[in-house]
């Protein structure tokens, strides 16, 4: 028996390799989708916060990313936009990254088309503006002075939904989908801390750990981290078979395989040690 555990503890690593490969290949081939329950985590906090906003409030979404981080951030954008539209909340889009404006346009217009939402009444896209944090401070005093027109040069005064909006304080929530700098941190420090507007956001998995501290201190109301965060929001909003949820299937199986191996390794190790076989 001890011999068995010893063998188990020293499994040829190629067996692990094969199982990892299968864990990724099989879900891709069969297009598997797994249930994705969402625990008590920052993604649920963000969802709950958005869900509790009254109908007709205004939310600013800043699309602070570019195509290289689309796999993680675009599903977030689509799920959040869908949620806001379902709740009849007005969306004002903008971008701190040049290419973010058109990525945001894609997310908003595709969702608006399917839900019958009207541009300039339910949503609009102010476009990209350079300046990062400095520019955000200016938005705090006057939105229209920074964005006299929207992305397509339609005048601020000609957009009906903007009539009640003067500064950042007109928004019930600011959501930054951020791939780096400038992004969430700039919004938290310039808009959240200075003007007291609640900040939520989504970011890549890589940068999530550095942003968790802002959740701890309450400077952010909630956050989506990486593919898992995107999948969470898709699930909470009720998108079935969404892009991020589908990506979670190979991830889940691969993680389970690795965790099983860790358990096997420890079972083998502890049994050996009990019998005095371990070094």
């Amino acid at each position: 028996m001890a011999d068995f555990y010893e063998k188990l503890g020293n499994i040829d690593r190629r067996i692990i390799f094969v199982l990892i490969a299968l864990a990724v290949i099989i879900p891709i081939i069969f297009g598997m989708v797994f249930p994705n329950p969402v625990g008590a985590e920052p993604s649920r906090d963000l969802f709950n916060y958005v869900d509790s906003l009254p109908e007709g409030s205004n939310v600013l979404i800043s699309f602070d990313y570019d195509p290289s981080t689309m796999p993680e951030l675009q599903p977030m954008a689509e799920a959040i936009v869908l949620h806001l539209f379902q709740k009849n909340i007005n969306i004002v889009g903008m971008a701190l990254w040049p290419q973010g404006a058109s990525l945001g346009q894609d997310a908003m217009s595709s969702m608006a088309d399917s839900l019958g939402k009207v541009q300039f009444e339910d949503w609009c896209n102010l476009g990209y503006k350079t300046g990062g944090g400095v520019m955000i401070v200016r938005l705090g005093s006057s939105m229209s002075a920074v964005f006299p027109t929207d992305r397509d040069d339609v005048l601020w005064s000609e957009i009906p939904m903007l009539r009640g909006i003067t500064s950042l304080e007109s928004f019930s929530l600011i959501i930054s989908l951020s791939a780096g700098d400038p992004g969430i941190i700039a919004w938290v420090m310039m808009a959240g801390d200075r003007f007291g507007v609640p900040i939520g956001g989504g970011c890549t998995a890589v940068s999530a750990p550095t942003l968790y501290t802002y959740l701890q201190t309450g400077q952010m109301v909630g956050m989506l981290g990486g593919l898992k965060g995107a999948a969470d929001y898709e699930t909470l909003v009720g998108i079935t078979g969404g892009q991020a949820v589908r990506g979670m299937a190979p991830q889940s199986i691969a993680h389970i395989v690795i965790m099983l191996f860790i358990i096997i390794g420890n079972v083998a190790y502890l049994s050996q040690r009990k019998k005095g076989g371990a070094k």
Partner: protein, 401 residues
């Protein structure tokens, strides 16, 4: 009609040249009035100031746009100097909110204003703003850092000097470094080579520099033991330096004949191409000891796992926080962060180097005290405000702008 002719004059002047010397006699109020009539948005709240903390020769402009009005095509930044000469510095796309004028002389007062173009005509102009450019001798936001850095440097140099004077200095055991001798010895017994990977960064990276210094000590040991030492590098300069220090190590060990230049080779600058090449060397040469010291990125685990699979003793070390966990998991010994920089002192036992370690400790102690005092001050400061300013002061001290 009068306004129209004024604009024509402007247009002509602009298309012919950038100088507007002749237009100075045009009353500015006319232009402003015109803007109101035609209702083209003009620039408001124009502010001009010396660009702070630079070498001079630069003025920063910021402004906002008027909202109700026709959107202009573009904006023109205008400037006049004390002689009254007016120039168009640049035209900017409409919607821009800031500009840095880098073409000014220090100490001269300039006056700026911004005009709005529509259909090639100037349709509106902003109020004027004045600024003088100057150069500064210090970044004010970095004074705190300058003080702390000088303090640290002074502490370290003090201890280096006292080390030189022969003051006896203790150094604790560092497991990974204590194992260097064993690792080289084992390779000798097994008749297998030692592989030394100095990371993928270039010679300007301080971790590479630290690694090269350690390589010199390791080379001396392999020379003493008569074991071959393989050093594949991913940078040309690192290869050259590695050749020098290994040769020197062999000379110091009295075995210059055993030095083989061919063992220190360049592979490729490519991160993963290098990883593929080193993996190949590991699997074919089957080294008994592998050193992975320096700057590593994602390739850290590719190298460490392959090294593990050939059964080598592995001693790794890096200051990259993201890669340390992988080394800890896959290697026998890992030098964590600062331990990498302590290695050369530990291995050589030179008093002046040991002194510098002592200096580092003193500096760490200083920062620990700073943190503890800061946290206490901030916490108590919530209830007793005088301490709050202490915490604020400490935070400002460590803030760098």
């Amino acid at each position: 009609m009068k306004n129209f002719s004024v604009f024509t004059v402007f247009l002509l002047l602009f298309t012919v040249g950038s100088s507007l010397a002749e237009s100075t006699d045009l009353p500015e109020s006319v232009v402003t009035e015109a803007a109101e009539e035609s209702r083209v948005s003009k620039v408001v709240d124009l502010e001009a100031s010396d660009t702070p903390e630079d070498a001079g020769g630069s003025v920063s402009l910021t402004w906002l746009m008027e909202i109700d009005g026709i959107v202009p095509d573009s904006l023109g930044v205008m400037r006049s100097d004390p002689s009254g000469e007016e120039v168009l510095i640049t035209t900017l796309p409409w919607g821009t909110l800031m500009y840095n004028d880098q073409s000014v002389a220090n100490g001269t007062e300039y006056s700026y204003w911004i005009v709005s173009y529509l259909g090639g005509n100037i349709e509106a102009a902003s109020d004027r703003a004045e600024a003088v450019s100057s150069a500064q001798w210090i970044y004010r936001g970095r004074i705190g850092m300058l003080i702390l850095l000088s303090l640290m440097a002074a502490i370290i140099i003090y201890y280096i000097e006292s080390g030189k004077k022969g003051k006896k200095l203790y150094i604790r055991e560092i497991a990974g470094l204590a194992a260097v001798e064993d690792a080289v010895g084992r390779a000798t017994e097994m008749g297998k080579p030692v592989l030394y990977v100095p990371g993928i960064a270039d010679m300007d990276d301080i971790q590479t520099i630290a690694s090269i210094v350690i390589l010199g000590r390791v080379a001396r040991k392999t020379a003493e033991y008569g074991t071959s030492l393989l050093v594949p590098t991913s940078r040309s300069i690192v290869m050259s330096v590695a050749q020098e220090v290994v040769k020197e190590g062999y000379i110091q060990a009295g075995r210059p004949d055993a030095y083989n230049k061919e063992n220190i080779q360049y592979l490729t600058d490519d991160q993963f191409g290098y990883a593929a090449g080193v993996d190949g060397i590991m699997i074919r040469e089957k080294p008994a000891a592998i050193f992975l010291l320096g700057t590593f990125y994602a390739e850290s685990l590719i190298l460490a796992e392959t090294g593990r699979s050939v059964g080598a003793i592995q001693i790794a070390g890096t200051a990259m926080p993201s890669q340390i966990p992988f080394f800890v998991a896959a290697c026998d010994y890992t030098l964590i962060g600062e331990e990498l920089f302590a290695a050369s002192a530990y291995l050589s036992r030179e008093p002046k180097l040991l002194g510098s370690l002592k200096g580092q400790d003193a500096a760490k102690l200083f920062f620990m005290i700073l943190i503890v005092v800061g946290v206490i001050a901030a916490t108590v400061g919530d209830y007793w405000s005088p301490l709050k300013s202490v915490a604020e002061f400490l935070r400002r001290l460590v803030t760098v702008n």
